[in-house]
């Protein structure tokens, strides 16, 4: 079984492909998108996606805007921000808007993998808790 299902969003397709190849090798299920809009479409059509790796700086809809939209429409999906230029501000802004974490690009693949695992775990736990809550709710209603 795959470690997690991850959507990589970056306008630099070379980067997306290289990262996808390496994460796939580490048993990560990969989806690809080259813009914010495409990412939202993929999320809408693919319910398996657990974690989004999101580039901050993109033409059109940028990372921060995409993040806000993901938070609004897919609150359970975790987002890891990748900041291309070494400014902490955009990372912090991402965190404020509900990103799971942020990493400088280029980043160490093992660190990224660890973050992805963490995020996926958090997401799964939350989902489990939601399921448990629902079950309790239904049980209580029956009783």
């Amino acid at each position: 079984m795959a470690v997690a299902t991850v959507l990589i969003v970056d306008d630099e397709m070379g980067f997306v492909e290289a990262l996808a190849r390496r994460l796939t090798r580490r048993d990560v299920e990969i989806r690809e998108a080259c813009s914010g809009e495409e990412a939202l479409n993929r999320l809408a059509s693919d319910g398996d996606i657990e974690v989004v790796i999101l580039d901050v700086k993109m033409p059109g809809m940028d990372g921060i805007e995409t993040l806000a939209e993901i938070r609004r429409r897919f609150p359970l999906v975790e987002v890891i921000m990748l900041t291309g230029h070494a400014t902490v501000e955009s990372g912090i802004e991402g965190m404020k808007k509900g990103a799971f974490d942020y990493l400088m690009k280029p980043c160490d693949i093992e660190v990224l993998l660890a973050k992805v695992n963490e995020a996926a775990a958090v997401k799964r736990r939350r989902e489990e808790r939601i399921v448990e809550a629902r079950v309790r709710e239904i049980t209580a209603r029956r009783a």
């Binding site: 630099e12 070379g14 980067f15 290289a18 990262l19 190849r21 390496r22 090798r25 700086k57 993109m58 033409p59 059109g60 940028d62 291309g84 230029h85 070494a86 690009k105 280029p106 693949i109």
Partner: protein
């Protein structure tokens, strides 16, 4: 000297202008003052000389008049004291002559008593004139008519120049005349005593222009003397008359004349003007010498000062030009700095790809299945990708470096469209991430423009940067265009930003005017652009509407050689 020889023509012109200005400013007052002083001095000096001559002539005129009247009085005294009969005795007359000669020296030559018919009754003197007949003599007739006479100088019976002083006594047939002959030499001494300078001489002429004393050694225009005489006669109020006139040789002389002897004689004093005014001439020569010497000094000083000033101005201008280039260079680097974020991201992307590809190769190497052909192909592909991305990085740095290279300020023919494209290439990435659409509308057959490439880059980059910053928040559309408008080339930078408020519009070209937060803008960009374009003989126009956007138009003249 070497410095000035290397001077640019405009500095040579400046030096020449300064030289002329210094010369005129120094020389004109000196000239005016000198001329005024000289004219005043000359007038006063001439007046003084003339006054002196007039005074001298007046004094001599009085002396001569007094002398003549005294002689007349002497004769009248004799005639009235002794009567005809007493004086007719020759011995008595001889005695009287001796008395007179004893008192006045050789002035009285002889004495004679003449009856009403003109016959000399008695005579005392050195000549044998005993029975001389004077009925026809002018002086005798005049004495009979006017009772007293002082005659003109004449030769008479004795053949020597002399003149007669005679008085008439008695009436009708009893009338008789006592006459005395005045020695010409003795009289001449009175007048000849007037000697001033080398050429000053005095003499007396009568109404007919005949000399009554020894005439001047050099020739004299008798009619001119007479003319002066006439003037005096016509205008009796001017007792002494001064005028100057050149003689036949062209030598100008001063004449001072005064009437004598009941206006029958004219005392003339003549002196060559050069002689009379020789001290003035000496002063003139000395002044002229010093004036020329001073003038030469002024010329030398003006030359030295103007050259020194021009060389200083040259140096200052050169330093100013260096400063200007440094400011442009600095502001250009600042402009590139503003682009740094975009460029950094642009480089970061291929770097990230390269690192991931390298990581991928590492991943593959960790496998033992490395020898498998598909792995080898994969490594090959990854290396190719690294190569491609490395090349991309190189291109980015190359375009940045080509832009940031030193400003040599050298003037060459520029392709404006190429410059616009250089700038757009540099900012394209930044525009992409700030939602700004970039459009270029370039005139295809733009004539080349002569100017400094780095300065032109600076102008376009600055305007484009400003436009991008204006739209950074909300995005928009940047249009950069070039066009030919008659003798002008127009470079336009148009944005759809918030526009510039009217209050700021007037100040945007002022140095240090900025609306950016402290530390983000120097406020020098537009003022430097303005300076660059103005130096090229062009202008920058701005049209801004709040809420709609701003258009900057750089208008520069097409150089005549390329138009």
């Amino acid at each position: 000297m070497d410095e000035t020889r290397q001077m640019h023509p405009e500095y040579t012109l400046l030096a020449r202008k300064m030289f002329l200005t210094i010369l005129v400013v120094s020389y004109v007052p000196v000239l005016l003052v000198s001329l005024t002083i000289y004219l005043q001095f000359r007038g006063v000096y001439r007046q003084k000389v003339e006054d002196h001559l007039v005074e001298m002539v007046r004094k001599h005129k009085q002396q001569i008049d007094a002398f003549l009247h005294a002689r007349l009085a002497d004769v009248r005294f004799l005639a009235q004291s002794f009567g005809r009969d007493t004086l007719s005795e020759e011995a008595f007359l001889q005695r009287q002559l001796a008395f007179l000669q004893g008192a006045y020296g050789a002035t009285f030559v002889d004495l004679g008593v003449i009856d009403a018919r003109g016959r000399q009754i008695s005579y005392a003197g050195p000549f044998k004139l005993g029975q001389a007949e004077y009925a026809g003599a002018a002086w005798f007739q005049q004495a009979m008519a006017e009772r007293a006479v002082i005659s003109d100088v004449f030769l008479g019976l004795r053949g020597l120049p002399h003149f007669i002083v005679a008085v008439c006594s008695g009436e009708g047939q009893d009338a008789w005349v006592l006459r005395a002959t005045i020695d010409f030499e003795a009289f001449n001494k009175l007048v000849g005593g007037i000697h001033i300078g080398a050429t000053g001489v005095a003499f007396i002429v009568n109404r007919d222009g005949e000399f009554q004393t020894t005439g001047p050694a050099s020739p004299i225009a008798a009619e001119k003397v007479f003319g002066g005489y006439q003037t005096c006669a016509v205008d009796p109020s001017r007792k002494i008359h001064v005028y100057s006139h050149p003689d036949e040789n062209g030598v100008r002389s001063i004449y001072v004349t005064g009437l004598l002897k009941d206006r029958n004689w004219l005392l003339v004093y003549r002196q060559q003007a050069a002689d009379a005014f020789h001290q003035l001439r000496r002063a003139e020569k000395m002044s002229l010498f010093f004036f020329i010497l001073g003038g030469m000094l002024i010329v030398v000083m003006a030359l030295v000062i103007s050259r020194r000033m021009a060389s200083r101005v040259t140096k200052a201008d050169r330093e100013k030009e260096i400063m200007r280039r440094q400011v442009i260079e600095t502001s250009k680097l600042a402009g590139i700095g503003e682009l740094a974020a975009g460029v950094a991201h642009e480089i970061n992307n291929p770097v990230a790809v390269m690192i991931e590809e390298a990581g991928w190769i590492q991943d593959l190497m960790e496998d033992e299945r490395i020898s498998e052909p598909e792995d080898r192909a994969e490594i090959q592909r990854a290396l190719q990708q690294i190569h491609t991305q490395g090349r991309r990085c190189k291109e980015i740095t190359a375009k940045l470096l080509s832009f940031a290279r030193g400003s040599d300020g050298s003037i060459r023919l520029l392709d404006i469209n190429q410059i616009i494209e250089d700038v757009i290439r540099l900012v394209a990435q930044q525009a992409k991430f700030t939602h700004i659409e970039v459009e270029t509308v370039l005139a295809p057959d733009l004539p080349p423009l002569s100017g400094s490439e780095t300065e032109m880059h600076q102008v376009v980059l600055n305007l484009v940067n400003n436009a991008l910053q204006a739209m950074a928040k909300d995005g928009g559309r940047l249009t950069v265009f070039s066009e030919v408008d008659g003798p002008w080339i127009v470079i336009g930078v148009q944005d759809t930003g918030p526009g510039i408020p009217a209050a700021n519009l007037e100040r945007i070209f002022d140095p240090f005017f900025t609306t950016k937060p402290v530390g983000q803008g120097t406020g020098l960009g537009l003022s430097i652009c303005y300076g660059i374009i103005k130096k090229m003989g062009g202008r920058i126009e701005v049209d801004s509407r709040v809420g709609q956007g701003t258009t900057f138009r750089v208008v520069v003249p097409v150089p005549p050689t390329t138009s």
